[in-house]
Amino acid sequence: MPIYAPTLPPRPSIKPDKSPILVMARFDIVRIFRLKMGRFFGYVYFCVLLVKLVIIYVNYLLNTNPQLGQLKNFADQVMPQPAIFQASLLDSSMLFFLWLQVALVNGALISRDTLYRIRPLVYSHPVSQKDYLSSKALIAFGIPFCVQLPFILLPWLISILVAGSSGPVWVTAPLLLIPAAILNSTIMGSITLGASSLAGSPKASLGWIIGLLLMSSALGGILSGVFENFAWMAISPIALTESWSKILCGVEKTAIPFLPTAIATGIHVCLWLYIAKRRTLPSEAVI
């Protein structure tokens, strides 16, 4: 009849069966989902999405109901051009909230670890810098992408369900808009990661991101005003995200042409990812 005193468990066999990237990403996601902020954004997105769906349905009614024929003529005048309409599925109001959300959520990803000084501990586990950054990037890129997805797919599905291939949303719209969403989330993700690594706390990183966006927009505004050429707005990441869906949907006269958009996107992504990399080196980790 032994007495089982509480002791430490025996040493387990350690066989890493999972990449640390997934472990860290899941841990961060769980924390993010606990934030009360999420509910607010959920409501906002729901409302914006609902408005868009209602517009599509009304559009369909206008097309099919003969009693509304006169209204239809009027609506045809008011309703935007098809390509612009497709692009507006990812429009600026929705992107504004998305920017706000990534500034809040992604901004905290690295800066929270800096604040609580978690990174030395992370690197004391079998985790390389690549793993660490990848796990953060997975979330930083994934969240904006996942939010944009329903804005593309739901109107498209509704449109197909109610009107078949002749609905207001092109059948091929997702093929154009999903790449736009990917590009948008890459821009958002890399900028927020870079700013987050510069800041010492989540609050400061929110400041960094907002400041960065404001300053670059102001700079872009001044430059485009001076040159009377709107392409200078490509300096502003917000303008970039607004631009991609238009370019890919083939809107004829986009504010910023393709080339400046592509170049500015490339520069932004490289610059901010490089900053994030420099600021999270393992050799600087243990104090």
Binding site: A218, L219, I222, L223, G225, V226, F227
Partner: protein, 258 residues
Amino acid sequence: MRNIPSFVETICILFRGYLPRVFKARGWVLAFIIMVPFVIVHIFVILGVVPNPARLALELYHNGYASVVIPVIALVSASACISEDIEQRTLPLMLVRPAPAWALPIGKGLLWFSWCSTWLLIVVTLMQLVGMEVTTIPRKIIALVFTLWAQLGLVSLLGLIFKRGILWAGIVLFLWDPLVTLLPGTMQRLTFSHYLQSLAGGQYSINNMNSLLAQAQISTPFWLAATVLIAVGALAWALCGIKVMNMQIGLSGRESEG
């Protein structure tokens, strides 16, 4: 008996003590924020690509400096003032010294105010290079500097009273103040923009979007507007002093409740 520094002495000590700080990163960021819009515009003027420089200079002044740069530097420099000491938990170290505690906020505030004012002075003076009319320049400098004085005081006070004071101040300066174009006559007197424009003798910047709702601009006499801005600033700093004087601020940094 030990020597106890007076109010003025304390301000001088703080001014001298923190002086090297303005030559560090934050000081240069402020100078940068102030200089950059001008420098960019100036480059284009030199390149000769600007059709109407005189209009551009006014636009730069009103849309650039009056409505964006001043609030931004007020927010940035206010977070370098007394709230920095609270955040770094070094305020208790100053409060256990005999120097009058109510001189602490303004002592530090004056330093950052002077630093930013110097740069504003330089930049507005230089604006004649991009076509600003020389005779209006003194008015325009006074308008910016006095507004900064009042805004800096207000931001510091809010930062001292509220936990997220700087955020509230941001809301006041960036959401409330631009509404000036939409406000009826007397309500316009509750914004900084109104006094700034009264001093500078200019128009509110009107956003295209809001132009439908725009109200007629009223104006306040120059000397009255100047007095109001100085008084608002002075009152804010005085309230900051009173707050610090009575604040039960423990070693943990934040004000201890109770």
